[in-house]
C-alpha cells in the first residue's frame, strides 16, 4: 500500500501582463484517518531551502504509510521568488510598498470571543473543533471577498491560509539571512521542542503579529483559554503551528534538506501521522529561550563589518562579535573597531552583507537560554 500523491495548482495572483501566478499543491493522502498536516515554504522569496526539504519529504513519504493527509506547498510566493534586484532575490517584502510577505494572515480576537459565546458547556470538544474550523474558514473567505479588495500580500496570505486552516499541524519553512537552525514554538506546545531535531528553540506567547504560525495557533489558544475561563475545565484542540528556520537564505543544499526532512518526519511520526516504526528524535543538546530573551542587536554606526561570531557559536560577555572597518581612518587607530557581546549570548543569525548603515540588524541572539530535556 503506497501513498497516493495528487498535484494541483492554485492561482494566488496576477502579474502586470495579466497572467495568473500559481503555486503547486501536493496532497499525500493516507488510507487511514489521522491528522491533517500543512507545510509551505518560501513565503519569503529568498528563503528557498524549504523547497528542497519538501522535495526530500516527498521522496521519503512515497514509501511510507500515512495516516491522515499531508498538504505540501513549495515556493508558495511566486511573486517574491521572482523579484531580482542585482543578483539576489528581493523576497522579504512586496517591492511596491514594502509589505512583509509574512504579515497578512487573518486573526481577529473578537471573532474568537464571539464564537466562544456560541459554545455550550456540554458540547463535545470534537464538535467544537469542527464548528470552529468551519467558522474560521468562513471568516477568511469573508475577508478575501472585501468589497474594496485587499493588498497583494494579504490576498496571497489568505489564499494559503484557506488551505492551512484545515490542518492540525502547520509548518512554515523559512531561512534566516546567514543563519543556524532554530524553530519558533508556541509556549503551550513546548514539548514539541524535543520532538524535532532543532538545537535552538524560541518559545512564543499567544500574541499575533501577522505570521502564519501565530495565525494558526492564536485562534485555538485563545478559544481554549476562553472556554476554560467560562466553563472552568481544560480544553485542548491540538492544533499547532511552527516556523522552522533551517539555515541561510539564497542557498539550497540537497543533503541538508534530507536532514531537515528527517527532523520533520520525526515530529510527524510522534504525532501519529506516519504508521510503521516510530522515529526517534536525535540525541542532541537543545536550548530554549523565551521570545523576550531573543534579542536583536542594531548598530548605531555605519561601516563595513566582519562577522567574527558565527551563528551557533557560544559567545561570552565582552568577547568580539564583529570587527568594523572605517574607510576614512585607515591611517590611524580608528580605522578598525570591535563590537563586543553585551552579555553571554548565542547568535542565531547575522546580516548577510558586510556593508551596513546605522540601524542595521547586525545579529539576532539567544540570551538567558536554558537547556531543554
Amino acid at each position: 500500500m503506497k501513498t497516493t500523491i495528487t498535484k494541483s495548482h492554485m492561482v494566488v495572483a496576477q502579474n502586470a501582463s495579466g497572467r495568473n501566478m500559481n503555486v503547486p499543491v501536493y496532497r499525500l493522502q493516507g488510507e487511514q484517518p489521522g491528522p491533517t498536516v500543512y507545510i509551505q515554504s518560501s513565503i519569503h522569496g529568498a528563503e528557498v531551502q524549504g523547497n528542497v526539504v519538501i522535495y526530500q519529504l516527498i521522496q521519503a513519504l512515497k514509501t511510507q504509510v500515512i495516516a491522515g493527509e499531508i498538504i505540501l506547498v513549495p515556493n508558495c510566493n511566486p511573486v517574491g521568488t521572482n523579484i531580482k534586484a542585482g543578483e539576489y532575490t528581493l523576497g522579504r517584502f512586496d517591492p511596491v510598498n514594502g509589505t512583509n510577505w509574512n504579515r497578512g494572515y487573518f486573526y481577529d480576537k473578537n471573532k474568537v470571543l464571539a464564537f466562544a459565546e456560541t459554545v455550550t458547556p456540554d458540547e463535545p470538544a470534537d464538535a467544537i473543533r469542527d464548528r470552529f474550523r468551519q467558522y474560521w474558514a468562513d471568516c477568511i473567505t469573508d475577508k478575501l471577498s472585501s468589497p474594496w479588495g485587499l493588498g497583494l500580500a494579504q490576498q496571497l496570505n489568505l489564499k494559503l491560509q484557506q488551505l492551512a486552516v484545515k490542518a492540525d499541524i502547520v509548518l512554515d519553512l523559512h531561512n534566516g539571512p546567514v543563519s543556524t537552525r532554530h524553530i519558533y514554538i508556541p509556549e503551550y506546545a513546548k514539548e514539541a521542542a524535543l520532538q524535532f531535531n532543532f538545537p535552538h528553540c524560541i518559545f512564543i506567547p499567544n500574541q499575533f503579529a501577522g505570521a502564519l504560525d501565530e495565525a494558526t495557533f492564536c485562534p485555538w489558544w485563545t478559544l481554549q483559554d476562553c472556554l476554560q475561563a467560562r466553563f472552568n475545565k481544560p480544553y485542548d484542540f491540538s492544533v499547532v503551528g511552527f516556523t522552522l528556520e533551517m539555515g541561510s537564505q539564497e542557498v539550497i543544499q540537497f543533503s541538508e534538506g534530507k536532514v531537515d526532512s528527517q527532523s520533520i518526519l520525526t515530529y510527524l511520526s510522534n504525532k501519529g501521522c506516519l504508521l510503521g516504526e516510530p522515529l526517534k528524535p536525535t540525541v542532541m543538546q537543545r536550548l530554549g529561550v523565551a521570545l523576550s530573551d531573543y534579542k536583536t542587536l542594531y548598530t548605531q554606526w555605519g561601516g563595513m563589518v566582519e562577522y567574527c561570531a558565527k551563528p551557533g557559536d557560544h559567545v561570552k560577555k565582552g568577547e568580539v562579535l564583529a570587527r568594523v572597518l572605517n574607510i576614512d581612518e585607515l591611517d590611524n587607530p580608528k580605522g578598525c573597531f570591535e563590537v563586543c557581546a553585551p552579555c553571554d549570548l548565542i547568535p542565531m543569525l547575522h546580516f548577510p552583507s558586510a556593508s551596513v548603515l546605522s540601524g542595521t540588524q547586525l545579529y539576532k541572539v539567544f540570551t538567558r537560554y536554558v537547556s531543554l530535556s
Copy 2:
C-alpha cells in the same frame, strides 16, 4: 525688525561608508513670544514638493514679523531621498527591510496614563503642559538610548520627533503618488479645515498608526480625555499635528509651492504665529470625510491601466474609473475592460504606474463626503 534665521545640521544616520548623513534645521525666531511651529518635508524620499514649500515659506517669512519660533526641516530623510531604483526614487520605505519611513515615531498610551496619575485637580493647564512636554521628550530620549539599539527608520523618526515634541503646531509635508491636495486633520481640531486652503479634508480619530501627526496629537488628546474623565472638567493643551498632501510625488513646482506656502501662512496667521495683518483663508469649496470613509480600491486582477478619473474629479456610481488592457486578448472583446465606481466618490490619488499586479492600490477615494463651512 526682521526675523532672524539660524541654520544648523543634525546627524540622523550613517551610511555604509561610515559617513554621517544629516538634515538641515532652519530656525526662524520671533522677538515676541508665541507658539512653536515645526514643519518637516520629504520623510518619504520621493515626495519632494514640500521642500519647495519650505523654500517659499522662508522667502515669505523673511519679511514677516513672527511671534514664537518656526523650525523648518526640509529633506528630513537623507537616506530615502537617495535610494534610486531605475530613474525613480525608492523613497517610501527602507530598501533593506521594507519599513515605512513614516511609522516609527514614539507613542505609548500607558505612559500617558502613568503621567495623568501625577496630575492633581488644581494643577494649572500651563504647568501640566510644560511638565508633560518634558516628560514626553524624556520618553523619546529613553527610547533612543535602548541598550540593544533601534532600526534605522525608527532612529530617524525619533531624532526628528525630538525637535517636533517642543512644538504646538506640527506640519508634516507629504505628496501622494498622482494626487490632488488633501489634508489629514485630527477630529478634535476640525476647525483647522477652514483655516488652510485645502479642498479635501480627512478627519482622523485618536488612533496611533506610527505617523508623525498621530505621534503629535495622540498623547495630548489622550491626556486631555483622561484628565477630563478624572476631574470632570475640560482640558485643552492646544497641540496639533497635520499631514499635508500637496500634489504628486517625483515633481517639484515653484509656483505651486507658493500656493501651498500661502495656505500654511494663512493657518499660522490664524494661530497667532504671524503678527501684522491677518491672512484670510481662500474662499473655496472644502469637502470633508471621516477616515473610515476614505477608501482604498484594490485590484483583483493584474494588467495595464488607463486612469480615466483624475484626482479631484467627482465620479458618480457606475461611471468609468479606469480602463484595463489585457495583452493576451487583443483580438477579442476581452482585450479591454472597464473598472467602474462602486459608489459616488472623489479620487484623491491613483497609482503612478500603468502596470499593476493584482492587489494594487488603484485609487484612494472620498466616499460619503460632506461640504464644510
Copy 3:
C-alpha cells in the same frame, strides 16, 4: 473579405520558479501578397503605450484589407514588465546585471561581407534578398545555439529577431521618460519622415549599437553598399526598421493610442500593406535632425529639479530649461539656481524624477534641426 487573425504564444524565458514566460504573437494575414510587417512593443518594460497602439491597430485592421502579413508582438518583454521597484517598473535593464533590454540583437558586419562574396553580378535582387534573409536567419539561429549559452536579454532579443528577420518593415514601439513624439529613421529611408505623423525625426547613420531598428537595417544597408561598390550599380532591398517614441513611459492612454495607430496605418498604406483608399499623412510641421545633433544634457550637480521647458517646446539659447533647489541653502540666494539652454533647442524628453544625482541625463534635445517637407 476580412483579415484573418491568428494568435500564438512564444516562450522567451523561464523564471526562477522554472515557469515559462511567453509573449503573444498576433498574425494578420492578407489574401493578397505584399510586404511583411513586424511590430513589437514594450521591450523596455515601463514603456507600455505601444501595447495600446497595437490594440488600436488590431481594432482598425480587423476591418481593413491587407496585402501581405502583419505580425504584432505586444508586451514583448515579460520579464521587464514585471520587475517592480517601488511603485514604478524597473523595465529598462535586466535587474540582475544592468543589461539594457534593447542592445542584444544580432549584427555582424563580417558576416554581411562574407555573404556579399557569394553574390554574382547578374544575380537578381529578389534572389539575393531571399538568400540573404535565409542566411541571416540562420546566423541568428546559430547564435542562439551557442554551446555555452547566452545572457537573458540576448536570448530574448534573438528570439524576437527570429520573427522580425522575415519582415520588410520593422517597427519597434517605445516611450521616453517624460517625452513628446519622435521617431528614429535610417538616413537611407529619409522619405519615411513624411509618411508617418511624427513632428520630430532623428536620422541615423549605418551604425550598430544593438537596438532592433539598427539590427534590421544595418545588414541590408551594408549589403547594398557593398554590392554597389563591387558591381558599380545600385541595389535596394527595401528593408527598413524604425524606433517610434510615442510619449511618456508608465502611462497608457487609449485615445492617444488611436492617434499613433493612425500614424502607423498611414505609413503602411503608403508602403502598399493596406488595400483600399490610400491614407494621407497629416499636414503638420515636421522637424529633423542628424543623430549627431541630438544631444544629451547631463548635470554636473545633484539636487531637486523643476523641468521648466516641456518636451516639444522651442527654447532659445539662454532661456531657462530647469530650476534647481538646494536644500542646504534655502536661507540665501544659492537656495535656487537656473539651468539655461546652451543653444537653441527643442527638448524631446526629460528625466522623470525631480531628484537627480550629478551625471543625470536631464534633457535630450534637438539642436540644429531643420524643417522637412
Copy 4:
C-alpha cells in the same frame, strides 16, 4: 626613517540632496625616487574586501621604506557602496540606468596614433613617456569638461583615472560573486603571474572594454606597438595595470586581507617599490588561461540551483556542476536534474543566489588552462 602618509578627500559626485560625495585618497611618499603605484578598491560597491586589503597594506607599509609613491583609494565608489536593495548592495551598476561602474574609463586609439606621429626616431624613451603621460592626462581632462556633460559612472571613472594616469603600476581590487582568487594580467606583462600569489591568472590581449586595467595598459601597449612598427625597434614604457579578484563579494575578512596585502607587497617589492629585504613569491601552483578560454556558462532554464562545484575545484568533463530543483515536478523524476561540465574546467566563480532565471551566468570557468612556472 618612516613613510609619510597624507590623506585628502576628492569629490567625485553629488547626491540628490545636493551634497558632495567624496573618496579618501591616502598617499604614501618615499624619500627615494621610484615607481608610482595606484591602488583602488570597491568600484563595484558590493566588492568590499579590497578595502580591508588596503587597510592591511597601510598597516604593513607604515613600517616599510618606500621608493616612489603609493596612492591608495579605498571605497572609490561612494554611490555604488550605498545603494541597498534588500539586505544586499546593488553595487555593480548605476541603479538609474544600468551602467556598469567599471566601463567608463577613457581610451581612444586614434589619440594614441596621433601622438605617435609626434615622436621622432631618436626621442629618448623617458622623454616619450613623460610627454605621453601628460598628453593622456590632458585628454582625460578634456573629456571631463565635455560641454554637454557626462554620465555619473563616466564622471566617477574619469576622476579616478586622473589619479591613476600618473602611475606606473595600477591595481584595481575586485571580488567575484562567490569566487576564488584570480587575477587579470595583460599578455605583455605575463611574468607578473609569478610575482603575485594568485593561483589563477587570466591573460588578456590589447583590447579595450572600458575597465581601469585596460584603460591603463591599452594606451601604452598600443603606443609601443605603433612606435616599434614605425621605427623598427622595441619600446617598453613599463606601465602595467591589473584587476585582482580576491574572493567573494558582500564579505570582509581581516585575516584574508593580510594574505592579499602580502601578495601585493611581494609584487611591489619585485618592482622596486619597497626597499629593504626583497619579498619572495609564495611557492604554489599557478594556472593560466587565455581570456578566450575563460568561459561563461549561461543557463537555458530557470530554477533553483545547488552549486556542487566550488570555485577552485578541478572538475572533469561530465562531472556534476550543479543540481537544479523544479518545484512543479517534485512528485516525479523531473523534480531534480543535474548540470554537467561540458569539458574539463575549474570554476572561478558562480552566481551568488540559488534562484536563477534562464540566461543567468551560472559559472565562469577556466578551460584549456596551463601550469605556469
